[in-house]
């Protein structure tokens, strides 16, 4: 049985429990029983007074559900992409931003804000520029090297630097009263703008991307052994590497268009997953996906309860990430460095 199928029930149950908990917390805390009563009533299993139903519908479905779903999608995308990148680049300290996807997407969104585009266009531009940055980095690697791992990393560094400087340029010309704060705020990441229609669209490519990555686990194991060994094991190295980078880039860029830049999830969550299920990617990738969802649900819960105004989630994940990373480093004895 594939590892993701064997682990599947436990992982799904964990994510479902975390989602239920996330629906409970907020400015008006709800007991889990209320949510289950509401779900039963919505499914037609039992009756509920209309007024109470409407209040709960507003709170649960209109206000909390979009960000809970967004947290799940963003968290699992970033964590899966991070684990996949760590395998492809044979380095446990790599995060999904390595090839410039975040720098590119940040530039795209800032450009959209400065050009006063409608929000949907800003998101599209962020996605496209994220993909463009990685394409540029990988293009440089293939053009001037042979597409080897080290050339891809260098290509990503160049492309990341290019798009970061373009972002600075856009920030410099932005109107300092409205546009600049919007850019800065967006760069800190937020799930507040998530809406159900958009999530309904993004859930398809993200779901497909994460699922495909999860099926590539065994091949990715071989890839981490080095190009020659992987090839001698029958793995089409170059094609596999491009496929994994493309899928990871796609889902990371989509998260940026949904929620801005949320750091550390892609770096820290795969480490925690590795402590739980070991380094085999067939189990590691789905576990990272589930833990990533839970991690971001927790971060979002903190971001909207700890203060009277919401704290940008990117700040929360960075703070939690730093602490978690120190704890993980302390617990790790088996040399993955």
């Amino acid at each position: 049985m594939p590892a993701w199928l064997r682990l599947g029930p436990a992982l799904l149950l964990g994510v479902a429990a975390a989602m239920l908990a996330a629906l409970c917390v907020g400015r008006y805390p709800l007991p889990p029983a209320d949510i289950l009563r509401f779900l039963g009533a919505a499914a037609g299993l039992w009756e509920m007074p209309t007024r109470e139903f409407d209040t709960l519908f507003n709170l649960i479905v209109r206000i909390r559900l979009p960000r809970v779903l967004a947290a799940v999608l963003v968290g699992m995308s970033l964590a899966t992409a991070g684990a996949a990148f760590q395998g492809v680049f044979r380095n446990p300290l790599v995060s999904p931003g390595l090839l410039g996807v975040l720098a590119g997407a940040a530039f795209g969104a800032a450009l959209g804000i400065v050009l006063d585009l409608p929000w949907a266009m800003v998101q599209l531009l962020a996605f496209l520029m994220g993909v463009a940055a990685v394409t540029a980095g990988v293009g440089i690697a293939t053009l001037f090297g042979n597409g080897s791992v080290i050339m891809m990393v260098l290509g990503g560094v160049i492309s990341g630097a290019l798009f970061t400087s373009l972002l600075s340029m856009v920030k410099y010309v932005a109107d300092p009263y409205n546009q600049l704060p919007a850019i800065v705020h967006w760069l800190m990441g937020s799930l507040a703008l998530a809406d159900l229609d958009q999530i309904g669209v993004l859930i398809i490519p993200i779901g497909i991307g994460v699922a495909l990555l999860c099926t590539l686990g065994r091949a990715l194991d071989a890839l981490t052994m080095g190009d020659d060994e992987a090839r001698a094991l029958g793995v089409p190295v170059q094609a596999l590497r491009i496929l994994i980078v493309a899928l990871a880039t796609l889902i990371s860029a989509l998260t940026v268009s949904l929620a801005g830049i949320i750091g550390w999830v892609g770096l820290i969550v795969p480490h925690i997953a590795r402590l739980l299920v070991g380094p085999g990617n067939a189990a590691l990738l789905p576990t990272s996906a589930a833990l990533g969802a839970c991690f971001l649900l927790a971060a979002d819960g903190i971001s909207r309860t700890v203060a009277t105004t919401e704290i940008p989630i990117g700040i929360v994940t960075e703070l939690i990430g730093v602490v978690a990373f120190v704890l993980v480093l302390g617990r790790v004895r088996k040399g993955w460095l």
Binding site: D221, M225, G335
Partner: protein, 266 residues
């Protein structure tokens, strides 16, 4: 493609240049199931390049390699992996895979990239681990075992792969003296089981003790190929490595090679 179960690997007049530098200029070699062939040569003689070409990892500038009379390039990657296995030099991995996971990677060509390991795959992995006597280490991280044990794990992976031909890059490197001798015995017993083994080595004594045939590679050319006792003369070895050595005959008729340091040469 249907291939006989005793495929012969042949390199025909391989020439290879890399960035204008000629690495191989007419190297020919044959590997049959059931024999241990050693490839001897100084650093930079082109051993690793020839190995990569024989494994189909590198396409030579001229000449070709055939397996069972079919050019290597004509094989699908996955089928080739079922016929020839690569045993790299002992290395470390960035992630702490268990020995069982490392050996399990050898099942990729049989099961396909996307499938989960089947009961057959698990059985093959267990057999390979048992054959090399590393069952007690099966669930230990590869990063925590010794160099000798890692070499055994990598050979077990090659056996799990199901290939009859094994190409080994300096299998003795990084092993202590006892493990080197144990390795010679292991390779001999694998050859008796029908495996064809090609290994590069820096130890003439290992060739005399453990190989059926030896090929000497010098400046990109195979300069001698045959029975180790005939090929490894003091003259050839001195020429190959640019140092003085003297073959010594043991009382039981076997030979070893002793180095001569400058003050001993008089």
């Amino acid at each position: 493609m249907v291939v006989s179960d005793r495929p012969v690997l042949v390199a025909h007049d391989i020439r290879h240049a890399y960035r204008g530098r000629v690495v191989l200029q007419g190297a020919g070699l044959t590997l049959r199931p059931g024999e241990v062939v050693a490839l001897l040569g100084a650093n930079g003689a082109g051993k690793s390049t020839l190995l990569r070409i024989l494994l189909g990892l590198l396409r030579p500038t001229a000449g070709q390699v055939t397996l069972a009379d079919i050019p290597l390039a004509a094989y699908p990657r996955r089928q080739l992996a079922g016929l020839i296995a690569y045993v790299p030099q002992v290395h470390s991995t960035p992630f702490p895979y268990t020995v069982r996971q490392i050996v399990g990677m050898g099942r990729l060509p049989a099961s396909g990239l996307f499938a989960a390991p089947s009961a057959d795959d698990r059985r093959a992995v267990d057999q390979a681990i048992a054959r090399l006597g590393i069952a007690p280490l099966a669930d230990t991280p590869y990063t925590e075992i010794s160099g000798g044990e890692r070499q055994l794990a990598l050979i077990a992976r090659a056996l799990a792969q199901g290939s009859r031909l094994l190409v080994m890059d300096e299998p003795a490197s990084g092993l202590d003296y006892g493990n080197q001798i144990a390795l010679l015995a292991l390779l001999r017993s694998l050859a008796v089981d029908g495996y064809g083994i090609l290994k590069t080595t820096h130890h003439p004594d290992h060739v005399l003790a453990g190989a059926d045939r030896v090929a000497l590679l010098r400046d990109g050319r195979i300069v001698a190929d045959g029975d180790p006792a005939d090929v490894l003369t003091g003259e050839r070895l001195s020429e190959l490595y640019g140092v003085a050595v003297a073959p010594v005959r043991l009382p039981d008729g076997r030979r070893v090679v002793a180095p001569l340091l400058p003050e001993e040469r008089r």
